[in-house]
Symmetry: C2
Subunit: 430 residues, 2 copies
């Protein structure tokens, strides 16, 4: 029996919206949003979408009109009643009322602010300017929209069975990865793949497959909508945008040197337990830890998001030891460009020294490499970053110069202030 | 929107029937049935299901009650109005009214006759006794039921995503085979995989994938129900049961030697063009062609269903030449245990000597090899054959002694009558 109403309803669609919910975003964006809402409500920030993969000519592949339709659709979204209830009532990281009433009252009224879109050669320039806690909410949906519109351009040319086999291959690939992970014990792994996912439906499939295949080894997803719908944990803490904006706001070199610790001091006042995770690499992990105040050593763990992950983990473990902490009571979260082999290797290497978690991103939710001619569905490296705060440029050094951002003279200044020397360049896959 | 009525309706099912239509069977069974209905209406035949793969303990894997339910369900089936219309109105092999009014009137009233089922150790003994043109209709559905019940026993233990990935793997495998075939030109290939298919839904998927992937190189399916639903050609001519029963009915060695030609003489009176396909291997291809009457050389082609296919094709090509026929105007149909590599090899070997077609069976519609532990979903060799006619045993020699059937003394007599010497034994995969 075909449900006639469903067919007729489907026919009425003007577009097939890629993002259909304000909480189809990463959980840490909401945590950070609340933190910014509280601590930096007046800061004006510019976010900019940057395609690091210049070989992918987005403006040739993606029609500007369609891109505008998708972005305009996102601006029509507001929090639904059920989403509101979930955010207010759900337990996150063991805590009720993670989101405060004043924040929720604002969020209930939120519509995303305007965007600025311009074609520049074969690329788009897509920027968002305004109150930090508003424009920051564009990051994840704008990336997801561009990745999926590029994919749709490729999928449009494929036949029905060709499509089915494409997804069959992708399912097989994910499942074979899960089968490899299943044998690792202990294991603690979450989905971090919202922003550069193949599509929402696909991410949702991956999360469910992880749940069936890994049981309690699968700890949750960064995607709030999927966490709500599938009743799994919402996972995430904080990101580079906090130290980047705090640093850009610094009035002197001395304030700049202090800024990354101010971020964590604000965070310390709001969160405890597994939410106290240091992200140390914005201006170099080594220097950040060496100069860190003692109270930071009491935090639960550290997230490794650039550079050689084993090196960063060793630095963290030594740092804890120096500060009189037991690494076996600490946690290292790996989240940079992971795939199964790397996960297995890191787990073997460090599981007797420290607790380990993995935030598995693009190569979980978008490993369509090698499936179509010219690798037209392979994920590529695209980010949406805060590039300016109150009119000043932001800077990121990272533990990998391939991930660095900012004007050259500012990068030079930051390197001096944070004592960052030569760094090893590592190819960014996704 | 969930269609509530559909859910409630589904809940009412007592069983999930494997065979739901009398025309979910091979087209050649209907052609042969009409021929028998016309020429041998009084012959009583016993069909027997034989599992050649004794390592598959069917009676352990398949519950006898469930098997009876499935077989009983088949006995409730009768021709639907639409099926009746299709058989009467559709063009088969370029011909309207392939099925005569008297045959159709009988077929409209047909319910399959009783079956006899007994457990013998780890195997079932399943036999069908009665009028030839009735019991012969049990062959294909009874095989499909046993293969699928065995599969269901394995599938029952699998999780939802594990199942989805299983089919994803199977789809990928079929599609990769199709991609290999796509490059062959010319190519003429049909689905012959009803009897030992994984399931009807799966066969239906394979047929559609072949159509999308191969276009006009895909010439149709042997399955009447799928041919009707998908509007593709129904393909098939005749099988060993005709010469086996005709031979069993022979009153003397002289009549026996003549019997296989009598079959084709009856067929000659009914069919022309692409339906005039010789199946020469029942009692040895070589002797059959050497002793064949001249009019047989005018037939359109030959079907190679046992032994080494290249050898049989060479024998046929030489035979046509000897009889003054041009092989380039003839057709060889390969249908025995084919998979892609063999298809490509045979096409290369013979495409400049003769027209070639392929009837691709079990390794199209049931290649689930290697997907689950202990290879529990791999196809296995099971047949349902006429074992007696009017109380006399039938015999098959074949071009491969592994496919031979019948009591030893009768096999000896047939070998003598048909002049069959030593034969090469070839392992039967499916």
């Amino acid at each position: 029996m075909v449900d006639i109403a469903t067919r007729v309803y489907n026919r009425k669609w003007k577009i097939d919206p890629i993002v259909r919910s304000l909480i189809d975003t990463d959980f840490y964006k909401l945590l950070m949003c609340q933190s910014v809402f509280r601590h930096k409500p007046d800061t004006k920030v510019t976010f900019s979408l940057i395609n690091r993969s210049s070989h992918v000519p987005l403006a040739k592949l993606v029609d500007e009109g369609e891109l505008r339709e998708q972005l305009d659709h996102i601006r029509t979204l507001s929090l639904s009643r059920g989403e509101n209830t979930w955010l207010r009532g759900n337990m996150f990281y063991g805590k009720r009322q993670m989101f405060q009433p004043d924040f929720m009252e604002w969020f209930e009224e939120l519509h995303l602010p305007p965007y600025h879109l311009e074609r520049k050669g074969d690329q788009y320039e897509l920027t968002f300017e305004g109150k930090w806690y508003e424009v920051m909410m564009w990051e994840v949906p704008s990336l997801a929209v561009l990745m999926e519109l590029r994919n749709r351009a490729v999928l449009n040319d494929m036949g029905q069975f060709e499509l089915q086999v494409l997804y069959a291959r992708a399912m097989t690939r994910v499942w074979e990865k899960i089968e490899k992970l299943r044998d690792i014990d202990p294991l603690s792994i979450a989905d971090f793949g919202t922003r550069r996912r193949h599509s929402l439906l696909w991410q949702d499939w991956c999360v469910q497959a992880m749940r069936e295949g890994l049981g309690t080894k699968f700890t949750g997803t960064s995607n709030c909508l999927i966490a709500m719908n599938r009743e799994v944990e919402a996972i995430g803490t904080n990101a580079h945008e906090l130290p980047m904006v705090y640093s850009a706001l610094a009035e002197s070199d001395a304030e700049l040197a202090q800024a990354p610790y101010d971020v964590l001091s604000d965070w310390h006042s709001e969160h405890d337990g597994n939410l106290r995770i240091i992200l140390p690499d914005t201006y170099g992990t080594k220097g950040f830890l060496e100069n860190a105040p003692d109270w930071l050593a009491s935090w639960t763990g550290i997230r490794v998001d650039s550079g050689d992950p084993a090196t960063a983990a060793r630095i963290a473990i030594n740092w804890w030891k120096e500060r009189g902490e037991d690494p076996l009571e600490k946690r290292v979260i790996f989240s940079d460009g992971l795939d199964v082999e790397k996960i297995i290797e890191l787990q073997k290497q460090f599981s007797d020294q420290v607790n380990i978690s993995f935030g598995w991103g693009t190569l979980l939710t978008n490993d369509f490499r090698g499936f179509v001619p010219n690798d037209g569905l392979a994920p590529f490296s695209m980010v949406c970053k805060a590039v300016a705060a109150n009119g000043r440029p932001t800077v990121k050094l990272s533990d990998n110069p391939a991930k660095a951002m900012g004007p050259p003279d500012e990068i030079k200044r930051y390197k001096r202030v944070f004592g960052v020397g030569d760094q090893e360049r590592i190819k960014v896959v996704v």
